[in-house]
Amino acid sequence: MIVAERKHLKEIQGLVSDQDRILIVGCQECVTVCMAGGEREVGILASSLRLARSREGKPVEILEQTIHRQCDFEFVDELKDKVEGVDCIISMACGVGVQFVAERYVDRWVVPALNTKFAGGTKEIGLWEERCGLCGECILYLTGGVCPIARCSKSLLNGPCGGSQKGKCEVSEDIDCGWQLIYDRLQEKGRLDLLFEFQPPKDWSVARDGGPRKVVREDVML
């Protein structure tokens, strides 16, 4: 899933300081799971903004709606009625959702409430970790299912580097060395032989370096 984190209230407040009627839109997918922009967080942000604005003597009217997915126009269209009553929309989705909402309601000011962080998963409740660098050509079969792009700080293909110390990465002792994880995993699987294969440079043109990407499935298009 896409993992995101809410911006500080002060920043969001600044983005809408001259708006008096606001719709806050949540998303029931990834950002609900990572507790950043689901129905619960919409309620908390709405309440915090109302309290902050009344404290400033500038009360604000806030509508709330959480839709199934903000990255699908089909669901974004459900906002139509509420959008009519406001000047501004705060989207609590990932950057994708914010853009879909902004694209659909071009005559409204649309601002993000979240910082979109990474593609990752829930390690435990309250802890989410990055797992995939969205490189466009997966090589997890070479590394025992540990991603060298996302989990090595330098995205090395032939690691580890000389900075790997006692399982930790030289970038920070809070980061496990991705290549140590790969080594341990392959050892567990009895496949250390894979490490003897030299990996040539990756084709980064299928990643972000090739510009914005598209996936097309003509067989499902009408």
Partner: protein, 136 residues
């Protein structure tokens, strides 16, 4: 400076039905307190506390069982964490975080209930009402 106008704070107390609520019932009425009984303090979510402030509370107290005594094992721990989170929200909003508190209580501690409510009322009286309160 002119005389400070008299201010009677509104306190909302969320009380667990296994501890705070029976203690409150035995204690009898405390004028400032609006009591809300909940099945477990863990039932109280962040939004309930924020809404209490939106609806005019000047202070909010959440009462749960003592650490190992929660009927639902971890409800009181969750409640304490949520109160901590609400404190950080209040701070961001510009409201004194001390206006919301979590306290442990046993069902037979009526006297302590009264003390806690009056203590918080005293603190809040000293702080005064929240500026630009949403509702009176």
């Amino acid at each position: 400076m002119g005389a400070v106008p008299k201010f009677d704070p509104n306190l909302v107390v969320f009380a667990c039905s296994h501890s705070g609520a029976p203690a409150a019932r035995t204690a009898g009425e405390v004028p400032e307190v609006h009591l809300i009984e909940v099945p477990c303090s863990g039932k109280v979510d962040v939004i309930h506390l924020l809404k209490a402030f939106e609806d005019g509370a000047d202070g909010v107290l959440v009462l749960g069982c003592f650490k190992e005594a929660c009927r639902y094992l971890e409800g009181n721990l969750r409640a304490a964490k949520r109160v901590g989170y609400v404190r950080s929200v209040l701070e961001e909003v510009g409201i004194e975080p001390e206006r919301v508190q979590f306290q442990h209580l046993a069902p037979d501690m009526a006297q302590r209930f009264r003390e806690l409510a009056l203590q918080l009322a005293g603190k809040i009286r000293a702080m005064g009402p929240i500026p630009g309160k949403v509702k009176a």
